[in-house]
């Protein structure tokens, strides 16, 4: 029965459980760990040649402490950093770059190297290494992080109180030297001048009018030339620098951005006095909310005060923008916020304009090196779909929740300010560069970054995501930030000749960034993989297939295609890809479906595709455009392991009979005496079987003789907490009972092996799903039939 769906799924889901560090010390995962040499072969692989990398993940995992000297670089145009794969001639004090084969002399200060005295960057285990870079002379490091809060006041009193509570916690958690600014907005934008002590001083910008950066600077008296009347800030010798800023900008810094230690009181008073927007909301209308101008002003202020240093705009949004640039819906409540259907039918009149506005904002922020974080907490959509570009291009964080009082917001918000074990390691001002062997071309990157338009020989003709460059800006990045780099192979004539072929390919990722502590660092990861020769040798390819990475890369790839290609049929595309992949790499006799089987490296892949087809990434019509944007942004920036959970949630069963164990993501896994724990990344569901729920309702867990039951109840809670603690954004925790209304959070994710059509087969106590969706079994039957077709 080797061809049954079960065999494809792998007999035991626990086998899919990730090893300790699935991403390895380099935090690099390839879809294919062995690469075909030709374009044709590459396209026959179906799944693109791609690499997922978390550029600054887990510094603890680094084999060496940061190196206190700058890296050595190969001669241009290669400029790759010296790495363990370099061939070193210790006698001649020469190293040969593995990427371009250039010979480089070591500089004089490397004179002491020998076989017994090797610098850390040449250690084999140091394929990933970090350098400390001293700033330009005279610039006193470290730079303080800058946080500009942008708070929506078009919310009800209760929500605003939640915001204040979270803000107070945040301010208390911020490092003393961090610079803080505050913008509040509703009908108009209020920029608070924190450095003015005599009374609360607020600059008010109208919400209805787009305002250029120059106008903002001029109106705030911050423009470089100095507005007439404002003293020109000429650089005088001996002028004390404030917070390491150039004196030119210190006026703005002193007025609007202050170290926490200096403005804690002012901030606290401001928060105390902050009221919901005072402008009236007419009956039948939405509140007038000028999110666009607020972000405009915030970006302009940062651009004037702290260009080029790490700063983030943290926007707390409570509803849709209804005024000025970036409007996503009119004030009239009778007009609903655009849905996927509207977008599809081109019936979203504000969409393109808003997208264009936020695109401009993204460009501005990227050029300034600043980040936009959005915390959207509203029952209605706030316009994440339109803002997506500005968030993703700047590497901003995004959290979507229903209320500022919800733990998804509260705990996530707190996380970004927390240090220690759970610190996100928020870093700034990153530049991500790729150097690679010359038969490899870079198609582009999907993920939180922006092309720096550094074109070169390494750029491929076809573009995926941010392409046509070998360098990207990452205004904001953190330990979780992951990028997917798409490659193409393009063998040159010379490399095609036998004898000149190098068996290994090399790729180097270089990330320079402003560490949370302020200094600039460079992280370099150099990896090597094997070339596979010829078209017949599928075995090496199969051995090198990473099905999790492949599933995630496909998910990211089709999400992008769905966004940019009109009428793109994702389901069909996925089906065809899966069939092609199975035809190419499956074992079967032609036209005999029953003969079909897959190598274990591929065995989970059909199920990933089955779930991907059913997921929020493909079935967008079940979600709002905001949710879709949110899901995709996180899919694009998360690690492979986390992204897999988004596509195919994990399900763990807790029962008296056995220790907690993974079970099939199938409705058949439901049982009255089980507790199920579903981790769907965005939500974590604890699902009590009917009997368990009854016992709990009767409070058996409180009786001493039922200690074991109490423990059984507790166990999934603890497990859920572990998941929640390790994740940003904090997932939504749903605790529900079988047949309860909240149970839908679980049922929606399960394979409908039992539906109302098959209800008569279902054993008592288990569940059915009311759906016409095909089950995984049916899916696999079709797959096998189509894969073996000649």
């Amino acid at each position: 029965d080797s061809c049954s769906p079960r065999s494809i799924m792998a007999a035991d889901p626990s086998a899919a459980a990730a090893p300790a560090d699935p991403d390895g010390p380099d935090a690099v995962r390839f879809t294919w760990n062995a690469w075909p040499r030709s374009k044709v072969e590459a396209s026959r692989c179906v799944v693109p040649l791609a690499v997922a990398i978390s550029p600054v993940r887990s510094p603890e995992s680094l084999a060496s402490p940061p190196l206190p000297y700058p890296p050595l670089r190969c001669k241009p145009p290669c400029s790759a950093l010296l790495n363990p794969f370099a061939r070193v001639d210790f006698a001649a004090k020469i190293w040969i770059c593995p990427l371009c084969f250039s010979r480089n002399h070591f500089p004089p200060h490397y004179a002491g190297i020998s076989e017994n005295n090797v610098p850390a960057e040449l250690f084999t285990q140091c394929s990933t290494v970090e350098y400390l870079v001293a700033g330009p002379p005279g610039s006193p490091a470290p730079l303080p992080p800058v946080f500009l809060f942008v708070i929506d006041t078009c919310v009800i009193e209760e929500e605003l109180e939640y915001v204040k509570l979270s803000m107070r916690k945040a301010v208390a958690l911020l490092p003393e030297h961090a610079l803080v600014g505050l913008v509040t907005f509703g009908t108009q934008v209020h920029l608070h001048e924190l450095g003015f002590s005599e009374l609360s001083k607020i600059y008010v910008f109208r919400g209805s009018k787009e305002i250029s950066k120059e106008q903002i600077l001029d109106q705030l008296g911050l423009s470089g030339g100095g507005r007439p009347g404002f003293p020109k800030m000429t650089q005088q010798p001996g002028v004390q620098q404030v917070n390491g800023m150039h004196p030119l900008v210190t006026t703005g810094v002193n007025r609007f951005l202050l170290p926490v230690s200096e403005c804690e009181c002012t901030l606290s008073t401001l928060l105390d006095e902050l009221q919901p927007d005072q402008w009236p909301v007419e009956a039948g209308n939405r509140a007038i909310r000028c999110t666009g101008v607020a972000l405009n002003v915030a970006a302009g202020l940062l651009g004037a005060c702290v260009p080029g240093t790490g700063a983030r705009i943290i926007a707390l949004l409570g509803g849709p923008c209804t005024e000025g640039p970036g409007v996503i819906v009119s004030k009239d409540l009778s007009e609903p916020v655009r849905s996927h259907k509207d977008l599809d039918k081109d019936a979203a009149p504000h969409f393109q304009k808003a997208v264009k506005f936020y695109d401009g904002l993204a460009k501005q922020l990227v050029s300034q090196g600043h980040v936009l974080d959005v915390f959207a907490s509203a029952l209605d959509q706030v316009g994440l779909a339109e803002m997506k570009l500005a968030i993703e291009r700047t590497g901003g964080l995004v959290v979507l929740s229903e209320s500022f009082g919800h733990s998804v917001f509260k705990d996530s918000f707190k996380r970004i300010f927390e240090g220690g074990e759970h610190s996100l390691g928020l870093s700034f001002n990153g530049t991500f560069e790729i150097n690679c062997s010359k038969d490899i071309k870079v198609q582009g990157v999907i993920g939180p970054c922006t092309s720096l338009e550094k074109k070169g020989a390494l750029c491929a003709d076809t573009i995926v995501g941010q392409g046509n460059t070998t360098a990207w800006k990452m205004c904001g990045l953190d330990r979780n930030t992951s990028l997917t780099v798409f490659f193409d192979v393009s063998p040159s004539e010379r490399s095609g000749q036998p004898g000149h072929q190098n068996p290994d390919l090399y790729i180097q990722f270089v990330t320079s960034y402003q560490h949370p502590e302020g200094q600039m660092r460079i992280r370099a990861t150099t990896v090597s993989r094997k070339w596979v020769d010829g078209s017949t040798n599928t075995e090496e390819l199969v051995e090198g297939f990473d099905q999790e990475t492949a599933a995630v890369v496909l998910a990211r790839y089709i999400s992008l295609k769905m966004e940019i290609e009109e009428e793109f049929d994702a389901t069909r595309w996925l089906d065809r890809s899966l069939i092609r992949l199975c035809s190419r790499f499956g074992d079967y006799r032609k036209d005999d479906p029953s003969s079909f089987s897959l190598h274990s490296n591929f065995s989970l892949f059909p199920q990933f595709m089955f779930n991907l087809r059913r997921s929020q990434f493909v079935q967008v019509f079940n979600n709002s455009p905001d949710e879709t944007a949110y899901f995709r942004m996180l899919l694009n920036r998360e690690s492979i392991t986390n992204s897999v959970a988004m596509i195919q949630p994990s399900l763990i069963s807790f029962s008296f009979d056995s220790p907690p164990s993974p079970v099939f993501l199938d409705v058949a896994s439901i049982a009255v005496d089980r507790i199920l724990l579903l981790d769907a990344y965005f939500s974590v569901v604890i699902f009590h079987g009917m009997t368990i729920a009854q016992w709990r309702n009767m409070c058996y867990q409180n009786q001493p003789e039922h200690q074991q039951f109490a423990q059984l109840l507790q166990a999934p809670q603890e497990e859920a907490q572990v998941i929640i603690n390790g994740r940003f954004p904090v997932p939504r925790l749903v605790v529900c009972d079988q047949h309860g209304s909240q149970a839908r959070f679980l049922l929606a994710k399960l394979n409908p092996s039992a539906t109302y059509n098959s209800a008569h087969d279902v054993p008592p106590g288990s569940d059915i799903i009311f759906t016409d969706d095909v089950s995984f079994q049916v899916f696999c039957e079709h797959l096998q039939r189509l894969a073996v077709q000649s």
């Binding site: 003015f196 609360s200 607020i202 008010v204 109208r206 009347g229 404002f230 003293p231």
Partner: protein, 800 residues
Amino acid sequence: MPGMPGAMPPNALGQGMPSTPTMPYSPHAEAQVSTPSKIDPNQIPRPITETSVVIFETRQAGQAAVPPAASSEFIVKDTGNCSPRLMRCTMNQIPCTGDLLTTSGMPLAIMVQPFALPHPSEEAIQLVDFGEMGPIRCSRCKAYINPFMRFVDQGKIFICNLCGFSNDTPREYLCNLGPDGRRRDADDRPELCRGTVEFIATKEFLVREPMPAVYFFLVDVSMNAIQTGATAAACSAISQSLSDLPEGPRTMVGIATFDSTIHFYSLKRAQQQPLMLIVPDIQDVYTPLQMDLILPVSECRDSLEQLLESIPSMFENNRVADSAFGAAMKAGFLAMKPTGGKLLVFQSVLPSVGTGSLSARETEGRSNISSGDKEAHKLLQPVDKTLKTMALEFAEYQVCVDVFLTTQSYTDVASISVVPSTTGGRVYYYFPFSALSDPAKLFNDLRWNITRPQGLEAVMRVRCSQGLQVQDYSGNFCKRVPTDIDLPAIDSDKTIMVSFKHDDKFQENSECGFQCALLYTTVYGQRRIRVINISLPCTSMLSNLFRCADLEAQFTYVVKQAANGIPSSSLSQVRDQVTSTCINILQSYRQYCASVSSSGQLILPEALKLLPLYTLALTKSIGLRNDGRLDDRSYWVSIVSSVSVSLAVPLVFPRMIALHDLTSRDDEDPLIPNPLTLNSENIQDNGIYLLENGEDGFIHVRNAVNPATLEQIFGFSSLAGAPNLLVLEQFDNVLSRKVNEVVNEIRRQRCSYLRLRLCQKGDPSGDFFRSLLVEDKAPGGLSYVEFLVHVHRQIQSKMT
């Protein structure tokens, strides 16, 4: 003169060379210039001060009485015609035909000052409430019921005195007629026996709830304003004035400051520190809050006082030299838009940025001086339409702007004054601003501005009997339709001139009625209609017109016409125009009323005998003289546009009194001694003189003054180093007390605090003083005698 009977026979006193006339002067006769070879300067006409208080009944024996001079003290008894303070016609008999009017050369206009201060002994204007029905009106021309509407047919019909329409008397208003044909209740009903009454407005007069009294203060805090002390003075004045605001919950206040941005303040937050809201977009302003910028004064007085105290120090180190006056006004306006109200702006520099910013045109004017007089007047026009457009919008939403210019430099008053003059406000001008002496005047001006009788959101219309029609209104208001004028605010100091032209003939012995109806809201929120009536006899006799001419009203007309002309024609043209108006009137009289025998003489109609003197003074006034600053001239023009009859004359023909010998006067004497003739022969070398024009008080101290006298009045015995701008203190001596009494009495009369300035010989200020002595010969100006000769020659040449 009042009660002068009959036409005056022309009374020629000799013949001779016209070029050397003499002028024996008799107050009871027509003034004449006669032949003897020398003019006796003591005999030429000059104003004489009436010292007794006249009781003036507006109608006597069914006839309109000729009112006493506006400058004299009188007590009015309203017996059917309104008080002449409220309405004064240029002629107290109306020519039957337009031709007759043209022949006379005289203007036909009335000066309406609807809130003119009454004499303390006068009866208050009575308030009439017709209840739901509202005031009785003519159903054709909508004129209000007045003593001149005739009830006929047992009172069932009343005939409108203005349009002649026969109306049915409403049943509720029916009343039998007495044997004299009047309604029996006529004497009990103010609207039937008084020239002026007020009606309570009914719903049909309300387009919205009567507005609250809103006062919004805008204070310039740009660098110059702060450094000259102007900001501090403004804040202090506002703070002190808060207690003078009308009491009650309907009085609202708000404040904003501005430099190159506009700073609003929210004072609502009782325990918290005030909130400063900055509007930085001065090209396109907006209001930063919908509510809480304007609050009932009772709710925010303390916090407002605190704020006013801290503003000068808060901006102490302000280095922003720019001032966004126009944008700030616009922003203030937006805050007041829902209610309307008074916007009081304290501005200290030339508005240099934002909407309605201005440029230093004065320098432009100076550099263009070579191009001559021809273009110079353009600098007295507003530079563009921006502020006018703004002002029209303000007026539409019942916002009245007063601008207090506390400045050291050119501020383009010509452009700025458009806003107050369109919205029923005015410009106050403190140049050069002195932090020492001007704060007191600023405070007094502001307080008077707030406390004087006034009305809000007013609409005014003047109706007249068939035969005449309104030709034009002139004053500080906004006119949207030809018949009405809109006055966001109207106060006791403001006068509106209404000119008329004939469109038909009047019957001899008929009467021509004028009715001014002013719909307004009191500062306490009551909507009222003030109806002011006058009915004057019509005549076809030119001599009657001359006999009943009102010199001051006519002269006020001439002054206002001249002021209107200044921005559009060259000064010499305006002066020529003024002089020829005078000559034409006198020529008409000479030609048609004087005896043939007196052809060689300059014969002046008694009522208008001072016209040449006043005309001469006008040609030498700040507005029409060649030298002087642009802003001073613009300010003069702006003042004149709303000036009352009683203040127009002193503005060009000032009053000079001696201060040094005040101690010689008895306490029973009138407080103010008789004015001295305005020529230098009257100035003694040991004297101290005060010359006042209702705006400024110039104190001229002669060289030989006894230092003890100086000490008594000023507290210092030597003028060396004395400041030009004076603070008059009261010292413990009789002379000082008397000087203070005199100055205070003048202030009371003029409703103006007077800027006191010291003028010393050998100093520009001394020369300026000299230039105000209008009878003297001056560079480019004739002496009084020379002017009379000139007038006479002109008349002669016209007649031949």
